[in-house]
Symmetry: C2
Subunit: 431 residues, 2 copies
């Protein structure tokens, strides 16, 4: 389970200026409790359908069937062509559950190509043997420029090495009701897995978009779904500060609108959780960044690393941020330091790396708290499938609540259209 | 050379609200021109000594001599133990000049261990054969907690496999005048390269801190220094808007203090430049984030990737950011798309990936400009040693100027002390 320590947003910890009065905060949550039910009752509406994903065991079975078939083919590489919500969830899963350097010792290797920079694309494509590579093209709408451009290149290279069987190297993940990928798949006999029409791209981590690459790389997606399901039950059953999604939503709104904190820094003290913060960055920014008065700016940082990069600003600079820390109570492995260090730094001797990490987190939390800067700490028991599945659901629910609180549509993104139109005009020679 | 297109900060492009009047801007720069000389004249003062580094060919020769010796030993891995300024410069160099996935096809592999998270450390240490690994411990002060903890573990493992010769697997990079690393080196006969006392950690990218790992991995550090030197000459010789450091400093200050933009988004349209934006994040935040009224918040993004994550917020959300784009006019390689895509997206057929990338940048710039959001574009001819060396010097000079403009000490970081004291107390059992 995930525990949230929110002591350091209260007046008794951080003082009048930024601190919340405990009774005010409790009544603020109580008043917004009905919004939880409102979100839960909306599962049939476009956007909100991410709520039904943990129940959808058919999709998990379908993915596992595909994975079983593909494992027999002993792919060396799984390469995902996707961008934004079609990549961030899968990347977060890979880093959280396979570790930071999994492509150096894990088979099959899993690459996400989420840009059209030719040097970057070449740095991956020149590494892989196309005959031993499975490509997954992910696009909810089916026509996103970047994955389509990448598909075009991958297809040509596949045809060169496997003229008859190139389609066997491809799986599409897209909306089953419409879109270009669907059309291409039918024509060229390429396999397709679906993203439910009512689930938005940035809410699609628990669909085939991220689950298929994750499962192909060996991640237990059933446990991930169990974690999401348990989190949903917790959100359904609990009230007030015990409801993690409601707690996080109210804090975000209060810090942004009442305490003058337009920025929220998500700073896990765990490398494996860093890309979850990156996934969250899209979720919050695209869902709530809707008009000049509405849109907190999410910022990612990593502890302890960014203590030596951003903490000076966080502690001493403008008081315009609040902080979400994350930690895993139990590490996967730990390493004990010997007694080799001289007395000036002898306090490290005999400690374990995890002790140093945790003490550093306490140092950061302590200093921010002394400076009156609001911060909370999300404590995972350990980084495993269930915890990660729970995190995804918790944050998605938080953001759905924020949509209602801020009175914006959390599921559209009209602000990127203008850019797409200009780009298309230039490439069509109509500029 | 680096060209800066700043058209889209002017009124004629983005309108009254955020736009600068051209004549006002020119006279604003002219008034601050003397600050350039003031910085140049300070090269002997603590902090400012980074200005002298491009002239210091002795250090480059010393590093190249070490590299020559080490290359004979055919290391499989170079592992840098360092954090903050002792890692970010080296990481930026690796990604910019060796590419994103160099550890998958480049020898020796180069790892930066910049955290004490035990699972993360294990993900690297379990990959490498310690007998074939050279460790570089980097700490300007010589006593930073994280690298010392990591050194303690690496040393024990080295002693296990090379009891007599473990010291041959270690090089320290530190201030030659004081510090714990120096003491340990003398006692244990470990080689040491210096970081000049008057160069701060976050300004140390052109010292052995980053140059030694870079050179060991095959990067031409002489050319890097040539790039920095040429940039310094440009800054010395040119005035007003032609002076890139002065231009960037004035823009940063005006956007922050006169146009209500506390956030600056650095968004290269080039994967190789992404970690330079990360390096810049420390440089700006730690140098200028000094008091509640002073400290712009740097934010990193990547094009086109983050168009699908942050552009919605940037275009439609609160008007509290300004934008620095970066691009390389000429890519290292490019790939042409075939004619395989259906007509709905046929505008991609026959284009190259770089054309798509550039058109996407124009789309983003165009949409932000239409929405009145100030943005500039730094155009590198290509991503090579000279250009990258120039970027480092340009940004360091900008930040030195900003220190004078904001009237803060750009070279200290008192705001991280409190956190260190708490951490040490906890680990010493004195809490």
């Amino acid at each position: 389970m995930i525990q949230i320590d929110f002591q350091n947003v209260l007046r008794e910890s951080i003082g009048q200026r930024n601190g919340l009065d405990k009774r005010f905060f409790e009544s603020y949550l109580k008043k917004r409790q009905p919004l939880v039910k409102k979100v839960l009752d909306s599962a049939q509406k476009p956007g909100y359908a991410f709520l039904d994903l943990p129940k959808d065991l058919k999709t998990v079975q379908e993915i596992e069937y595909v994975v079983e078939q593909e494992q027999k083919r002993k792919w060396q590489n799984i390469v995902v062509l996707g961008i934004g919500g079609s990549a961030l969830g899968g990347i977060a899963l890979q880093e959280a559950l396979l570790g930071t350097y999994s492509n150096l010792n894990h088979s099959p290797r899993l690459f996400f190509v989420d840009n059209v920079d030719p040097d970057y694309v070449n740095s991956i494509f020149s590494l892989i043997d196309f005959r031993k590579t499975l490509f997954i093209v992910v696009s909810k709408s089916g026509g996103t420029t970047e994955p389509m451009a990448l598909f075009s290149i991958a297809k040509e290279m596949l045809i060169r090495v496997e003229p008859k069987y190139y389609a066997d190297h491809l799986i599409f993940v897209t909306d089953l009701h419409s879109g270009l990928l669907l059309k291409i798949a039918e024509k060229e006999n390429i396999r397709v897995l679906g993203i439910p029409s009512k689930v938005g791209g940035r809410f699609s981590v628990l669909t085939a978009a991220a689950l298929l690459p994750a499962a192909l790389a060996g991640i237990n997606i059933q446990k991930l779904m169990v974690g999401a399901k348990k989190m949903l039950e917790t959100i359904q059953k609990t009230e007030d500060v015990k409801n993690p999604a409601l707690l996080l939503a109210c804090l975000q709104q209060l810090m942004d609108t009442k305490k003058g904190k337009p920025m929220v820094v998500m700073m896990p003290y765990k490398n494996q959780l860093f890309r979850i913060a990156d996934w969250y960055r899209q979720l919050l920014a695209e869902s709530i960044g809707k008009n000049p008065k509405t849109g907190p700016t999410p910022i990612n940082a990593l502890g302890t690393t960014d203590q030596h990069s951003q903490l000076q600003l966080y502690n001493a600079g403008p008081d315009d941020k609040w902080f979400i820390f994350m930690e895993a109570i139990k590490p996967g492995v730990d390493q004990k330091l010997g007694n080799v260090l001289p007395k000036e730094i002898g306090f490290l001797n005999g400690k374990s790396l995890d002790q140093v990490l945790k003490a550093s987190l306490q140092g950061t939390v302590g200093s921010l708290t002394k400076n009156g800067r609001p911060n909370i700490n999300l404590k995972l028991d350990r980084v495993d499938e269930e915890a990660v599945g729970g995190l995804f659901m918790m944050f998605e629910f938080q953001v759905a609540l924020l949509g209602l609180m801020y009175k914006v549509d959390a599921f559209d993104q009209p602000g990127v259209e203008q850019s797409k139109i200009i780009t298309k005009k230039i490439l069509s020679g109509k500029n």
